[in-house]
């Protein structure tokens, strides 16, 4: 459906997007995830036709689009601030692309009704935009972007401004509509949760480059580099030195503690590295006692306790790990036990959960 080959966009000396290549199949939902300034919006705007790439080609339905203006591309887009037309009704908004693209006049009302129904706004077509709630406006925006059956749907962080509850509802709603119509979709967001929840595939971008392209679970469990490990999820990074590495395994020294972990590429012995441990994968136990399922156990002291209801977030100081401060998510379904500040505890983790990355990547 869509293919990008070495797409690059430079503004003067600054590369907003560098050598971006990926392919998207029929019905696939892809999320481009990255912090602001990562180039994700630039990529989306080039696909939509609002910007021309400095280098590389974009193919839509097998044909290069080159400098084709947006209104000649078959792309529906939902904008960050929705960009609905306030001087038209909801139905008027949805009919707009149909009128502009020359759909037969007598087909338009039925089509508008169908798409109003699809987004569960049946009967609200006569409402003006400002008479609709935030969530209803989202629905109009998506119906307007889809009513002309575009080859591709682009979502430019349309959910970013919603409050959390509504955002989570709309994520599922967007996903339902997308699957019902089977339209190829590219979603851009800085919200990692949204990316994991909605997508078939995630592309993580930083500094204008693709850092990893993978299924959501792969990106989470097997991050390709330190950036991805740090951007998705809450991760503790512990400075360490590599002792030896082979076959995707590395033995490292974190302070006085020697332990093993996974690494994506072999690391030279003695090289500075960082061991990464996700906050929810650090296990908490009684001081001086073994922890079930943990391959490594080290002593630590609680320095901070934040009760969040469904979990308790701890910060612990581990002298044996070079004096590192670790963040721990403790769900503790068995004991309902909240630790005190200053309490001595043990922390542990499974070998497969420790990831080793070269420093400075």
């Amino acid at each position: 459906m869509v293919r990008l080959d070495g797409v690059t966009k430079r503004f003067g000396d600054v590369a907003a997007a560098e050598d971006v290549s990926f392919e998207l199949g029929q019905g696939e939902f892809l999320t481009i995830l990255g912090p602001s300034g990562s180039g994700k919006t630039t990529v989306l705007r080039m696909i939509a036709g609002f910007m021309e790439p400095t280098a590389g080609t974009i193919l839509l339905g097998g044909r290069p689009v080159g400098a084709l203006p947006p209104h000649r591309r078959s792309i529906g887009m939902v904008f960050q601030r929705l960009a609905l037309f306030p001087h038209m009704t909801a139905a008027g908004n949805i009919a707009y692309p149909l009128r502009m693209r020359g759909f037969p006049r007598d087909e338009i009302p039925a089509r508008v009704e169908r798409y109003l129904g699809l987004v569960q706004l049946a009967g609200l077509g006569d409402r003006r935009i400002h008479e609709l709630s935030g969530g209803q406006q989202q629905r109009v925006a998506i119906a307007r972007a889809l009513s002309f059956e575009p080859d591709l749907l682009l979502l430019d962080e349309p959910l970013a401004s919603l409050d959390r509850k509504l955002r989570e509802d709309m994520q599922l709603e967007f996903r339902r509509i997308q699957q019902e119509l089977g339209v190829a979709t590219i979603n851009v967001t800085h919200d990692q949760r949204e990316a994991l929840v909605m997508s078939d595939r995630v592309i993580v971008m930083d500094g204008g480059r693709i850092q990893q392209a993978a299924a959501p679970e792969t990106a989470y469990r097997l991050p390709a580099n330190r950036f991805v490990a740090g951007f998705i999820g809450v991760t503790n990074f512990l400075p360490c030195a590599v002792r030896r590495s082979a076959d995707g395994e590395a033995e490292v020294a974190i302070g006085d503690t020697v332990c093993a972990g996974r690494c994506a590429a072999p690391l030279p012995a003695g090289a500075p590295a960082e061991a990464a441990l996700r906050a929810e994968q650090v296990l908490l136990g009684e001081a001086g006692q073994p922890i079930a399922h943990a391959d490594m156990v080290v002593p630590a002291t609680v320095t901070e306790v934040i009760f969040e209801g469904d979990r308790v977030v701890y910060a612990v100081h581990a002298a044996g790990l070079g004096g590192a401060l670790l963040r721990i998510f403790d769900h503790d379904p068995l004991h309902h036990k909240t630790r005190r500040i200053g309490e001595d505890v043990a922390i542990g983790w499974k070998r497969r959960d420790l990831m080793v990355f070269p420093r400075d990547t």
Partner: protein, 315 residues
Amino acid sequence: MTTSARNRSPLLRLLFAAEAVRAAIWPQRMRPATGWAFLLPAVLLVAILVAGMAYMVDASFHELDRSTFRLTEEYSLTNYETVLERPFYSTIIIRTVLAAVIVTAITLVLAFPYAYAMVRTKRAATRKLLLIGLFLPFFIGQVVRAYGWLIVLGQEGLLNSTLTWMGLGTVKLIYTYPGVLIGLVQYMLPFAVLMLAPAVTAVPEEVELASDSLGAGWFATLWHVLLPMTKPGLVAAGVVVFTLTITDYAMPEIMGGGTSDFIASAIYDGYFSTDEQGLSSALAVLLVLGATTVVGVVFALVGVGTLGYSARRLR
């Protein structure tokens, strides 16, 4: 923590002193009347204006007594009959109204792209240049500007020497109706741009991009999105330009040189040259009524535009 009035800065102390004075002369229970108090100076100004108008309306119903050159005591509609019957006046009225319509139309057509470019340009230098071009005429004044036009459009002026050089002959614009219109459009342009710029700013650029991606080319976007969404600004600018033009005095005087007098010139002549106060008053009353009716009809048909402040804003 010790809090003390002494620790406040001199300015803050002054402000709190003023606050104490206010509390003494305008106690809390007077609060509901505060808005009216603020309105008072404006109400006084309007009241004076209304008094003048009342005097004028009264004068318009008294005929001039040719023997004494004073207004007669009896009330009559003679002045109005004279204004409507004399071809001299109907010519002037038609000329003025036509000018107001033409100038409003041309000014809006020229002002919209200017305002659009000024709001949408990405380059700060371009925006500055456009703003300077907008405000410069305000510093110059209408009379000086009109004389500038004489230099450009005059018999031996810039335009005609260029046309002659190109072998196209000369055009006479000075002391003609088209010359007056050109001068008026240039005079009104900054007002119109200033009133349109906020309306264009109120349209998010994303809306134009959305229209483009939905299949509308640039002109379709202009017609179906940009113009409807900037309608409040267009209405406001149109009303202001129309009323300023229909009441203008200086431009027809200088650029027209007596060939293209507007209603205001006739009123002026009546008051100060020919001493026909009653007739001039009738003309002035008709002008006020006419302009008010036009503005009223526009407001009734398309709303008050950005001239009306309302709690519900365009999103």
